[in-house]
Amino acid sequence: MNKELIKELKVSAIENGTVIDHIPAQSVFQVVRILNLEKFDTQILIGANLDSQKYGKKGILKLSNRFFEKDEINKIALVAPTATLIVIKDFQIIEKRQVEIPGQVSKIVNCVNPNCITNHETITTKFVVIDKDDLKLQCNYCEKITVRESISFV
């Protein structure tokens, strides 16, 4: 990516909204899907494969006039544990924090168990996060554990 575009992205600061920075490069579009950004009608800037001093390559999202509940934004921690959330009001950063893996996950993840009822009827999946470090999700229905390597998103 050329320097000019990075600059442009940096300068296109938003007046009000949310910036999600330090997204692992390969996860940007997954984050877009998890947050259902396709349905947004406000301005969205998506930066992918940008150079990052810390991570090599990174992604960034700038979402004008969008603010998220903690539970909603924390869902992205499953694919982007390094992401930083920056909340902006009147061009000022009013909050900056790391996303956290939530205690419960619903809707966005499929159960790994092919014989789980959630894979056979229209049921919203629900998991309890039983291990945040290794990322282990226990299905509320079949009680089987889905681990990081086998997570697939709805």
Partner: protein
């Protein structure tokens, strides 16, 4: 506990399970009582299990309740493609309690969220079978005089055996020492082992059945099914390694009892049946009392 569903044995606290066992003792003394007069219980068996279904129906009938339902999915609207959601919604209108068996894991939990009446899980795929668990606990307490501080050996298919999963979880509340005997392919899943570890209890895994016989107060046998193996050669190799016969029992503790959720195929030789260690047929009878206690408690008549 009135109006509560029983899906997984961990839905009950230690005290709640004990309360059911105590009540089951009362029903053992007096199994015929007219306390469910006017109640309708549905038994929905989306996969057949004659033994479990008859045990529930016997329990309800002896208490004067009425039973409706079906004994396998082919004779019901499920055959016509009706969803579990719709079947449960509909049947909820016709009864006070639903007992269900279903081939998919998680089906009973889902049903309990959809139904307007309580659900008793009579087996959901390879996941849970809590009423079998309660009758196993009842049998253990009856034969050993206590539930606490026992050495229990689980033998056979520990991976898919749902009766094993439920009983391990339940017994982890009773300071049990676990001896887990299985082929490498069929070890206890980590989601179940977690309950043992959380309580810091002793457990050991074995591949040789002979090693645990002198250690155990209870030997809980299960069937190893061919279809559970990805490699048929592996099945042929292990299929005879987990068969208990009378000669092997000479090293057992005097009060040791052999349990089995039944039906057995060949994993317990028939020469064990007449030994003082055999308890699996009495174990099945205990199921009626435990199910009477459970149904009466959930319907609020006891």
């Amino acid at each position: 506990m009135k109006n509560r569903s029983l899906i997984s044995i961990s839905d009950f606290t230690r005290e709640e399970s004990l309360r059911i066992l105590d009540l089951a003792e009362e029903f053992e003394k007096q199994p015929t009582q007219n306390i469910l007069d006017g109640f309708v219980i549905a038994t929905l068996f989306f996969e057949p299990s004659t033994r479990t279904r008859l045990s529930f129906e016997s329990a309800v009938n002896r208490l004067g309740g009425k039973v409706i339902g079906f004994s396998d999915a082919s004779s019901s609207s499920v055959q016509k493609g009706e969803s579990l959601h719709d079947t449960i919604k509909t049947v909820s209108n016709y009864c006070d309690l639903i007992v269900m068996r279903h081939p998919r894991e998680g089906s009973a939990r889902y049903a309990s969220q959809v139904a307007s009446v309580p659900i008793i899980n009579a087996g959901d795929g390879a996941n849970q079978h809590p009423t079998q668990c309660l009758l196993d606990m009842y049998s253990i307490r009856k034969t050993q005089g206590r539930l606490d501080n026992l050495h229990i050996a689980f033998v056979g298919d520990l991976k898919y055996g749902r009766t094993v999963h439920s009983l391990v979880i339940a017994m982890s509340l009773h300071n049990t020492t676990f001896h887990l005997v299985s082929p490498a392919e069929l070890k206890l899943p980590s989601s179940v082992k977690m309950h043992i570890k959380n309580k810091n209890l002793q457990y050991r895994q074995y591949t040789d059945l002979n090693e645990v016989i002198p250690l155990a107060d209870i030997i809980y046998m299960t069937r190893i099914q061919k279809e559970r193996f990805s490699d048929p050669i592996e099945y042929e190799r292990v299929k005879n390694a987990y068969i208990l016969n009378n000669t092997m029992l000479c090293k057992a503790k005097p009060g040791m009892k052999v349990l089995h959720p039944l039906p057995r195929v060949n994993e317990i030789s028939t020469d064990v049946d007449d030994s003082s260690s055999a308890y699996y047929f009495q174990q099945a009878l205990n199921g009626v009392y435990v199910r009477q206690a459970l149904v009466a408690t959930i319907l609020g008549v006891k």
